[in-house]
Structure formats: structure tokens, C-alpha cells
Symmetry: C2
Subunit: 402 residues, 2 copies
Amino acid sequence: MLVVKKFGGTSVANKERIYNVANRCIKDYKEGKDVVIVLSAMGKQTDVLIDLAKDISDNPSKREMDMLLTTGEQTSVALMAMALNALGVPAVSLNAFQVAMHTTSAYSNARLKRIDTERIRHELDQRRIVVVTGFQGVNKYDDFTTLGRGGSDTTAVALAASLHADSCEIFTDVDGVYTADPRVVKNARKMKEITYDEMLDLATLGAGVLHNRSVELAKKYGVQLVVRSSLTEAEGTVVKEVVKVERMLVSGIAADKNVTRISMIGLADKPGVAFRVFDALAQANINVDMILQSIGRDNTKDISFTIPRDATDEALKVLEDNKERLTCQEIKCKDTVAKVSIVGAGMMSNPGVAAKMFECLFNSNININMISTSEIRVTVLIDETEVEKAMNAIHDAFGLED
Amino acid sequence: MLVVKKFGGTSVANKERIYNVANRCIKDYKEGKDVVIVLSAMGKQTDVLIDLAKDISDNPSKREMDMLLTTGEQTSVALMAMALNALGVPAVSLNAFQVAMHTTSAYSNARLKRIDTERIRHELDQRRIVVVTGFQGVNKYDDFTTLGRGGSDTTAVALAASLHADSCEIFTDVDGVYTADPRVVKNARKMKEITYDEMLDLATLGAGVLHNRSVELAKKYGVQLVVRSSLTEAEGTVVKEVVKVERMLVSGIAADKNVTRISMIGLADKPGVAFRVFDALAQANINVDMILQSIGRDNTKDISFTIPRDATDEALKVLEDNKERLTCQEIKCKDTVAKVSIVGAGMMSNPGVAAKMFECLFNSNININMISTSEIRVTVLIDETEVEKAMNAIHDAFGLED
């Protein structure tokens, strides 16, 4: 039995927490399991290092930035190995060079290509706990790289896949994946199980527990993920391919307030116009999400779409600059909207799910601005002041508290 | 033309100093030289990391300690490369893995075995300044090691030897090697040149500018060392095999107050007694330096010797414990003594040098306790209150200010 256990920066922020993690891992070790620990840098250490670099240079090279940042995880793994040793358990820390975590060459945003397992296997065979640096890799030039946001989760999942681990536990500051954000929906329920696709939709939609890339990787290699709390012994949520036979129609609700709706009014109704709009935004690296196209007056059409709220100013600038070329009469912008989504693998075979959601919102007197759907997800755009009311109403309507 | 330039922790302790070093190195680069920079960890960073480890464990494993400490130099080289980049010069930082600095496996006190130069050569060929971590290496297990005290000097010299560098500059907080400590002897003179052997004797005797091991290595591989200030542009002292043909008899004077004299009175005058004394001390890892044996009363002998002052308590304990076995009647100890030495390759062929030193001390009314000599060195043990007077008198007697 081999387990990979990943702890984030807050879980190793000080001596007390390092020992807390060490003790948890020793429990598994004493049950006879092979234990691999993946760690992030301690607390705010990565931010401290970034500030150090920014003090030296306004625009430090990404290659040197990664060289600098990787010292963060190396520090935490060395200290964790010392703590495990102090508790009488043999342990060894390894960085990306020592494991040999091969990545693409893109500094600051590399992707894992291949992980050598020989050294880790060797250490596990000596009955040592192996403590591995998350977030970092080595590229073909023998340079350090980092994996970008959520990188340590990705390291853990990739290690679990390479080592054929029996389980990959991701420890966070919440104790699992909930049917809705417990701070918003009082009777939100922690899920015992969820499929990769549901988790992916929830992650993308802002549930914020696991990073997409790690879930995609887990799905690809069939790694069973467990999301659980680093503070309590609660069981957590298992993310895996097939869950129980009788599925809930809807497994969770997510909300995302980082949304602005932009409407382009009176566009010429001829081919290529929509393409030009989205091409201009794509070139400015702005992600467009929900899209609604409708017939306007006098042979024109209107296009509405949503973008991340923090890209509002830049998007408006791009569109205003191209207003004439885009044949647009008026640009409207509303940044007080929010997305609310229901996710559930059971929806696929139940066409009534979306209708039930709309009916529930109608009964609560909530106006729907836009709608988008996928096989396992229905998303509506509503006014952001109504998010709480909507989430609670939907949670009740689908009986998620049971 | 290839130069290796080594800067210690104080030289890179903050942004201003990092830029100061960067600018100095860019000057060489712009003259067309290939430049390799070797750095220690910033300021007191190594002490900070040691404290972090001691907080986690009273007795951290040396392997994990080295894993932790090596983050210190990695941080400074990354920041230095950023500073060089910010000044418009291409630069790349490399750690012990990337260079491939092979060492023995002894954690915390490893010795360099071999340095691969391929990566560094490749980077230099691209006209990049290469910034290398000092003090660290990688052993046959692919683990980080550190080189112990003065380790970064050793890294610099070994790199210079491997790369066949034209010169290896060691930047310190003094601007060269002096004929005597300038704080003690007012008219001490900075030497332009000195041989490896003279430097070794001065280093061992407490001149404290360069670490022995780096001088030994430089001698072995014929690396021309330059000791110079990181704060001023002064020329510094060149350490090399052969210096000018007409040599000074004496090139420098060193003093060392870390000395205690111990006398064993009334030892049985039979074979093996002296051996037993020094064997007992060796087993306690205590270094014995000057030794004087004399005939005592009634078929006994007395042995006096010096040890480092900080080992006094331990040495006395070892000797007292073995007093009977050593057939010793009395143990005397004096910890207010000091060694004063004159060093100079010219002494070898000038037997009058020692006599001149003794005469000079006699004229100054300074009592000599013990004497020890080598081919290029004469050391006397005197009362520590007379060190300043002795050094100035000898400095004048040999005309070292000229």
C-alpha cells in the first residue's frame, strides 16, 4: 500500500504545523504503508521570495525566478525530514533534480512530462518516508522550472500516477468537497464521492478546492484523489471515475462572482463579425465564457458574453479601439453579475434538470440573464446580489442536504 | 581570458551590495573576459537556516542540514543573475547539480572530487556571465553536500583549476595580505606578492584572510590567487608559486592568541610516555602544536606543548583522568600566552633569520617561552600582553614597512 500525501504552505507554516503533518504521516507509516509526502513552500515564503526578486529587478527573468522560488520547497522538505527523524522515523527529502521530475521548458508555467521513480522506490524500499518538493521540475536544459498555480497538487497526482499509488490525498483548509459553499448555503453537505468530471466542472466554476490541471491528470491516469482537511481527522471527499450506482441528479452548486457581462449592440448582420469580436479579445489574452447572440433591429444583431471581471477595463479598451471595424453601434457593460452552476453526472440522462433549476429561480423571483449548459452542468448568469438566495433555493429544490 | 571571482556573504548581503558586485563583474565582462562568479549565501542567511533547523530538531541529520543550507547560495546566485540581467548583461545562475560539482559523501564536510565544466563552458561560449553557488556539492548518492568552513573559497579555486582560469580573485573585507595585522602594527605593508607556502603558513597561523584548504588546492593546481577588497578598487595581493627573484627574508608576521600552554611535570623517563600523552589528546580530537621536552629532576622529564585555548578544559580533563597512567606528578596550564610567527620563503637559505628575531625580542625585553621552526617559518610563544610590542619590534627589525 503506497500513499501520496500533499500538504500546502499553510500546513507547514511553522514548527507546530510541521510536527502535526509529520505525526499524521507517521500514522500511515506505522500501519505499514509506503508514504510519499509532497510539500509546498512554507506559509508565505513564495511571496517573500517574489518580493526579494522584485526588489532586485522590475522584470526578473523567469528562468532565474524559478531558480529562486524552488528554494522554498527545498527548505520545507528538509525541515519535514528533520521533524520525522526527530520523531524516530527514517525519512529523506528530495528535490526535483534528485527525483528527476522532467518538465517542458516553459519557466514559471511548465508541464510535467515524466517522473523517474527509481530513487523514490529505492528510498521506500529502505522503509524511509520520502518527502518531495512540490511545484517544481527540471527541464531539458537541466534548469529548475515551476508548474504555475496549483502546481503542488499536480506534482502529487503525477507522482501518485508514476508510482501507481493506491491513493493520493490532498490536504487543504476545508474538509472536503461540499454540495455548495458552506459559508453561503447553511445546509450544504460534504460529499463522500464525486466523479472527476463533476470535480472539474466545480473546480472551473470556482469551488476552489483543487486545481483543474491536477484533476485532469488524475482522470487521465485513474488516480484516486481524496480531498481532506489538514486540521481535522474528518474523512474527506473521494474523487474517482465511477461512484455509486444510484446517482444524485445534481451533486453540487458553485458560484463565481468574478464575472462581467459585455453586450455589443447593433453589429452588422454579416459573416465574420462575431469572429472579429472574439479574435480581438483572444489577442489580448482575454477569456470569453458564456456567449449569447440575438437578432437586433434593422438587419443588425447583438452579441453578449461574459469575461473575468478583472479583465473588464482591458476588454472595453480593445473593443472601443475596434468599434468601427467591428461595425458596432453601442457597447454595454455590466459588472454586477454572477454565475451560478449546478453540476452532476446524473443530468446527462435527465433532461428535466435544467427546467427544474429555472422553475426554482422563477419561483424565487430571480431573473436569468444568460444560460449555458454542458452534459453535466447548467450555468445561469444572474444579478450578483441574488447569488445567496439562488444557491439556497436550488440547494433546497434538489434536496442536496440529504 | 577567463576569471573566477568569489564574493562572500557580506558582499551580497543586500540589494546595494549585490549591484556593487554585479557592476564590478560587468567591468571585466565588457573588457572581453569570460567571467565566472562564485557566491556564498547572503549575509547571515546560513545562520538563519541553522536556527530554523535547530528549532525543528536538536540534532538534525547532516544530510538534511546540507539540503537546507544549500538553498542559501541558490538564493544569492539567482538574485545576482537577475541584477546582471537588469544591468543589461546576459547571465545564468547554476547550483551544484547543474554544474555537477562532485564531492565525497561526507555531509557538512565534503571534499571536492571533480567538477564538470561542460555546462559552464557552454554558457560562457554564449557570452553569459556564469554565477555559481559556492560551498556546495553533490555526492555519489545525488545528495547535496557542503564543504565546511571556507568552502566557497575552495569552490572558487577548484573551479579556476578545472576551467584553467587565468586568475582566481577572492574578494574579502580586507584589501590584501599584509606583512602583519594592520590593526596591531601601524606601519604594516600590503604585500604585492606572496608564495603559496608563505600564505599557507600565514593562514594556519591566524592571518585569517584565506582558508587553508583553498590555498593548498591553489598550490596543487597552480591557480594564481588574488586576494582583494570587495569595497575598494585597490590591487590586492597575488598568491602564486614563484615571486620576484630578490626575495625579502621575511614576508609577514602573524599572531595567534587562541593558545594555551600545558606542561606535564615529572613524567617517568622511559620510552612510550610521550606517545601516551599525545595519544590520549588525539583520541579526544585535540590538536597539539608546539612541543618542548626537557630533562626534569630524579630521572624524570617534563613535556610542554600548546593547544587551542578553547580546548583547554577538555584537555585538562583528559590529562587528569590519565594522570596516573601517564606517570605524571603535576600538570601546569597557562592560558595567557600567544604565538608570534615570521614567515618567508627567503629564510630557507638564511640561517640568521631566527637569531635576528630572538635578538630583537631580547632587545625589547620580551621573554620567549617556546620556539618552533619550519623551513619558512619561526614561531615563538610569548606572553599575550607582549604581542603588540613584539610584532612592531620584529616588523621594524626586518624593515617590512619598505
